[in-house]
Symmetry: C2
């Protein structure tokens, strides 16, 4: 008899459960991309071909659905991170990481809001808390490395740049044009970079 870690009976997951879950994730991702994180969950359920109750059974809250969709998206993201970690230039690694994170955060319009809420509350029941903490601690790593190499001011913390990336992602989500965003990114970069003393 199948047993799980807790010593209870284990059954192979039912086929319809997996099917529905996959359909929901796929549809939800499309709707999040198109209409932002505030999209109608009823519409998602209908388009996925399930009733509303099925959606809520799989994902009790909007945040849970969001976290699950982000999970599927994070594969590409971690691959990108692996590429970044091979860089020996800590300053460029930080820069690329921030950009990657910003793109991740602006995947769906409105995504930064629930993420910030999760980052603040530290509620273990909020499914977004974990991905959020990962982002913050990773940023801190890159910042420390760049600081050791003398590229970043000592007063800067990883969390600060996480906030900055969230900000840029938020602004991006409001539809601001790319040119303005670029100038804002430059402004932030000027803010955290150690001024070159050899000039």
């Amino acid at each position: 008899m199948r047993m799980n870690a807790g010593g209870q009976q284990e059954r192979r997951p039912r086929a319809d459960v997996q099917r529905n879950r996959a359909a929901l994730l796929e549809t939800a991702q499309r709707h999040f991309l198109q209409h932002g994180v505030g999209t109608s969950l009823e519409a998602v359920a209908k388009e996925a071909g399930v009733g509303p109750a099925t959606l809520y059974r799989h994902f009790p809250t909007r945040e849970a659905l969001l976290a699950a969709v982000l999970q599927t998206r994070s594969e590409e993201f971690v691959a990108r991170r692996a590429g970044i970690e091979q860089l020996d230039n800590a300053a460029e690694a930080l820069e690329r990481w921030l950009r990657a994170m910003e793109e991740y955060l602006s995947a769906f319009s409105g995504l930064p809001d629930p993420l910030m809420a999760a980052a603040r509350a530290q509620d273990p029941d909020n499914p977004l808390t974990i991905p959020c903490d990962i982002l913050i601690s990773a940023t801190d790593q890159y910042v420390r490395a760049a600081q050791r190499a003398g590229h970043v001011r000592a007063s800067v913390q990883g969390y600060d740049l996480f906030l900055a990336a969230c900000s840029v992602a938020w602004i991006k989500g409001t539809g601001t044009e790319e040119k303005s965003l670029d100038r804002l990114r430059m402004l932030i970069a000027s803010g955290y970079r150690e001024q070159d003393p050899g000039a």
Copy 2:
């Protein structure tokens, strides 16, 4: 006979209209302060002692109500601006202006979103467009003055710092603690300030 600018008959505004409008504005401000810009308009109407239709007749959209409430709030704001303009230190004037604007923008949680939408769309029908444009052009003034005095990098535009202020206000609205906000403000200030060449 009373005439208005268009040459049409003019009547003194009815007493109940003014009363209702004032009650709505007062109640709306309280609700915006307490629950953010997304607060229930039905609840506002009920607490102001009027029907929903009366609210919508006075303020056809949520943005219209928001703009009217902001209007009443802006008196204190312009007074503050008058105080700033008397400063002869352009760098400090800019700094104080940015801080004043940030506080104005974070008066109600969620306020930056509709404001950014108005800033982007430039829709003349959106009642938030005008206050928004005022903020942007004022920021530009302060930036130019500070640049003439050599305190701010030439690459920085007023709109950039408007965006930055919106960002900080947005983050503030998500409930981030003041300590983190201060570090973010420092980061931004380091970003726009001209590095002192005499060091």
